[in-house]
Amino acid sequence: MDAMNRRRFLQLVGFGAGMTALASCGGGSDGTAIRYAWWGDTIRQQKYTAALDAFIRQNPGIEVRPEFADYDAYQERITVQTAGRDVPDIFWIPSPQVMSYHDAGLYRRLDDIGSLDLSAFSAAQLESYKIDGELNTLPRSVLTAAVRYNQTFLDEAGAQLPPDDPQSWTWDGLSEFLIDYARDAPEGRKAIHHNAYGDLNFEAWLRQHGQDLWSADGRMGFDVATLAEWFEWWEVLRRAGATTSLSEQEGPSPEWDVVGDKVLITFGNSNHIADEAPMFPDYEFGLRLMPVLPDAAAGHRFGYLSRLAVYQGIDDDKLDAAGRLVHFNINDPAFLQIVGLSVGAPANPRMLQAAYSVANDDEKKMLAVVEQEMAQEQKPRYEAPPGSGTWRTIMGRGIEEVALGRASVSDAAARVIADIDRELGRAS
C-alpha cells in the first residue's frame, strides 16, 4: 500500500470498526437493564409484554428489554447468542435443551439471589428442581399429558366417554370407543386426530410401560418394542378410519385450527386448552388425564416442568433486578392476571391456588387435571440430554413412514431408535 501508509489505513479501519461497534450498542445500559427472552405466539407476546410493562411500573429504575420469538426461532437464537456469549439475562428453557444449556454453563444458581423469594416452595420441591445438585433453574409452569374431548360432539352423538376409572379408562378401552364412535360419526368427522407425535402423551405411554423418555445417564429410556407398540396403537385406529389421515391434518403435527372441528378427541398438553378452546367458541371442551394400562408401572404419573433460568454471565449489578423479575414471574398473582395460563399451571403452590381466581372455565379444567396428576406418586423424570434436540423430527419421520405405508411398524421403530441414538452419540 503506497498511497496511504499501512499504519494510517489500519487506524482508519480501526476507527471505522470502533464507530460501528459503538453504533451497534444503541443507547447503552444504565446497569439495570434486564434482557428477558421467551417464546410463543402473538397473543403470548402481547400478554408478556404487558406484564413486563407492569413490572417496570412497579420497579422504577429497572428497564426490561424483551426478546421474543417463535419456539423454533427462539432455540436457534439462544444457541447463536450462546456462541457469541450474548445470552439474555433471564430466559425460558425449551424442553429439548435443558441439559444442553446446562452443559454449556448457561445457568446461574438462584438460591443466593436476595430479591428472589423461594419460600412458597417446599424443600422437597426445590430439591426436585435441582440439576446436578444445584438450584439453577425454576419451573415457570407445570404441564401434564392430557386427553381433550369435544363435549358438544359427544352430546350430538348421544355418546359418553368410558368412565374415568382405572378399569374403564384404559388404552384398549379408549381405542374401542374411538373406533365405535368413528363408525357412526357425521361426514367429515373423525374420532381423533393422528397424534403419535405428541411428546408428553408418548412419555405417559412409556412411563406406564415402566420405561422413560430419557434415562438418568442421558440415553434413551425406551426400546424398539415399546415404540412399536405406540405406533401400532395408532395404526389400529388409522386402519379403522378413526383418525384423520396425515393428508387431512396436513402432517404428523397438525395445527389445531385445521383439525379442531374435525375430531372428537385430541391428545396434547394440559395447557393447550387455554389457547385452543377459544378457537372454537361454539364447542364445549373437557379434559382428562391420559388412559392407563391395567398393569401400569408404579409412579408413572409425571408433570413436565417448564423452566426459566438466569444467565451465568449476568453482571453482578443486575442480579438484584433479575431476581425481582424472576420473583414477579413465579410468585406474584398480578403477573398471572396479565399473562393468563396459556403456559400451564403455576408450579408455585400459592400461585396455583391464586390461579383459580383468574382462570376461565377451560383453564380451571387444566388446573384441576394438573393438580390431579401431581397429587399422585411419581418416580423421577429425567430431562432431555444434549443431542436430543432433534428427536421429535426423527419421530415425525417414523410416523410418516408408518402412516404412509412406507415401512412396517417394527422397521420404523427400529430406525427411529437408531437415529435418535446416533444423534445422542454425536453430542456425547
Partner: protein, 317 residues
Amino acid sequence: MTQDTLVRPVAQSPPPRPPRRGMPSFRRQGRAAHVFLLPFLLGLVLVTAVPLLASLYLSFTDYDLLHDPELIGLENFRRMAEDQRFWASVGVTLKYVLVSVPLQLAFALLLAVVLDKGMRGLALYRSAFYLPSLLGSSVAVAILWRQLFGHEGLVNGVLGWFGIEGESWLQNPDTALSTLVVLNVWTFGSPMIIFLAGLRQIPEELYEAARVDGAGRVRQFWSVTVPLLTPIVFFNLVLQTIGAFQAFTQAHVISEGQGGPLDSTLFYTLYLYQQGFNSFNMGYASAMAWVLLLVIAVVTAGHFLLSKYWVFYGDER
C-alpha cells in the same frame, strides 16, 4: 518597406505551481479514495471475508455453538459419505435443479416471445408477470402455496368440481416436490425480463430475410430467435441454476422446516440449516456449505465449458 509581420502573441500559460510539500496529488486522491472505500472494505472484511474464512475453519471442526470448536480434520467430509439424509438432500436438490430450471426458462422464454409482440396493455402484463419473481422466495408465497396445495386447498377444490377427490399434495412424498417446482416455475419474471431485453437486440432485418426465404413463424423462432438468444439463455441458465441449488425458503416454510414428508422436500440447504441450527452441528453444516460452493463452482464452470458448443455470439463467423 519593411513588412510588419503580425505575430500572434504566444499564449502565456501560467507558470506551473511549485510542488507543494508533502504528498503528491495522486497520493491525496488515493487517500480520499481509501476513505470513501472504507465502508465497503469494512463490509467486505467483516461481513464477507471473515465469516467465509471462519466457516472454512469450522468445516474442519466439531462445533456445537455451545462449546469451543475442536479440530477433527476431514471427519465432517468423511461423515457426509455415509450420511443417508445428506444423500437424500443431494438427490432432492438435483431433481429440483434438473426439472425446475429448464421448465422455468422455457416458460419465461415463451412468455417473453408472446410479450415481445405489440399488444395493448403490454406494460401491465410485464409488470404482472414479473410480480411473482419479487414475491417468489418470500414466506408469504410459501404459505399461500400451502393454502393452494393443501388437503382443502384451491387445487383440490377445483378437482372436486370434476368429482376427483384429492389428497394433500404437500403431504404426499410423491407430489410434494412437484409443488415446489411449480412454485419456482411460477417465478419466471426475472428471466423473462432478461429474455425480453435480448429479443429487442435481434435485428428485424433477419426476420424479414427469413420471411423472404419463406420461413414461417415457427421456423423463424428456431432459426433466428433461438440462435441469437443463446447468450441470454446461457446467462439465465447459469443464474437460475445457481439459485436453484441454493433454494431454501419455500421448502422451509412449506415443510415447516422438516423437509418432509419423508425427506421428499429436503433441499440441500434445508438439511444444512437443520444440521447447523437444529442439531447444532455447525462444523458439519460449514463443511456442507463448502461442498455446495464447490459443486456450484464446478457446475458453473461446466456450463461455461459447454457453452462453446451451443452459445452463438453475433460477431462469430
